[in-house]
């Protein structure tokens, strides 16, 4: 015999709230991927080219790490603002967005792993 739906399974709030398109969420997810990849790329570039490393040393006590992380945060926020504006009222293919975001996140993580950095720099 089928069990009747209990009151606790009712979702009045979820049903009542005006539906927000997935665009703003997708923008946040893809921007997080872009920022993660930027972090990996800046870290690798700063390590590979001493001149760039010196240029990234925007706060000398912290050294190149200050520029690497500041630049990655700027790229992340700019990407979020731009994508958020473009996708503000749109439904997008979130599966593709997730795939791209996780690919960039994985690449960013790998690029910050010192043995991978050394391999790419030919050390």
């Amino acid at each position: 015999m089928a069990r009747p739906k209990s009151i606790s399974r009712v979702r009045p709030v979820a049903e009542a709230a005006p539906a927000l398109p997935n665009g703003p969420g997708a923008a946040a997810i893809l921007a997080a991927g872009v920022g993660s990849l930027a972090l990996g790329l800046f870290a690798l570039a700063g390590d590979a080219w001493p001149a760039l490393g010196n240029a990234l040393s925007v706060w000398p006590p912290t050294g190149p790490l200050s520029g690497v992380t500041a630049a990655a945060v700027v790229v992340w926020l700019v990407a979020w603002a731009a994508l958020g504006r473009i996708w503000a009222r749109r439904e997008v293919n979130l599966r593709a967005v997730n795939l791209a975001a996780f690919a960039m996140l994985a690449a960013g993580l790998l690029l910050t792993f010192p043995p991978i950095m050394d391999l790419l720099e030919g050390r």
């Binding site: 009712v10 709030v13 979820a14 997810i29 920022g35 790490l65 975001a101 996140l105 993580l109 010192p114």
Partner: protein, 187 residues
């Protein structure tokens, strides 16, 4: 019982912000899981507000952890000793690099830790935003929940790597010095 200022700041960075953030992870996973079933109907507004505050606090803690680590502790860690210095105790990076048996703690441990930790605030800010913007609508947004869960898991991994190396680095070459803070005087 006393502690140096730099030790106190290192404790605040690692045990205050970092460890508290790690402890909060199980709650974040529970919130993301709970979002799949929607908000409880008997206390929807209060429950959602609590969830939002919890994730916002996690994002805030992750920012405090990386900012204190990068701009407060790390400069002490990488300080350059004066020419001809033989006692490197106050210069942890140089102390580690002076011995081939400890150099790896810097070359792998710190080099990885200083970058990987920064994935966490980016990920957790995004996750907090998703929960604030979508709230109970996440019950019908499986792909958004999956992304939030995935980035939260990676943030946990990144924090675990940074925290583990931080603990070992501070054991091998502690960041130490500055004014002494007396916590308790013995009899």
């Amino acid at each position: 019982m006393e502690i140096t200022f730099r030790d106190a700041m290192t404790v605040m960075h690692g045990m205050g912000f970092g460890a508290l953030f790690m402890l909060a992870f199980s709650g974040a996973i529970a919130i993301i899981y709970a979002s799949a079933t929607g908000a409880p109907p008997d206390a929807p507004v209060r429950g959602r507000t609590l969830f939002r505050l919890y994730l916002l606090s996690m994002a805030g803690l992750s920012w405090l952890t990386v900012l204190s680590g990068s701009y407060l502790i790390y400069p002490w860690y990488r300080a350059t000793p004066p020419a001809g210095a033989t006692d490197l105790a106050a210069y942890p990076q140089h102390l580690l690099l002076s011995n081939p048996m400890t150099a790896g703690w810097h070359e792998l441990g710190m080099e990885w830790k200083e970058h990987i930790a920064w994935f966490t605030p980016i990920a957790m800010t995004m996750v907090a935003y998703i929960f604030i913007a979508y709230g109970p609508q996440l019950a019908r947004r499986r792909d958004l929940r999956r992304a939030a869960l995935g980035f939260t898991a990676v943030a946990f991994l990144a924090t675990a790597v940074a925290g583990t190396f931080g603990a070992f680095l501070n054991k091998e070459a502690p960041v130490h010095g500055g004014p002494e803070i007396v916590l308790l005087r013995g009899r």
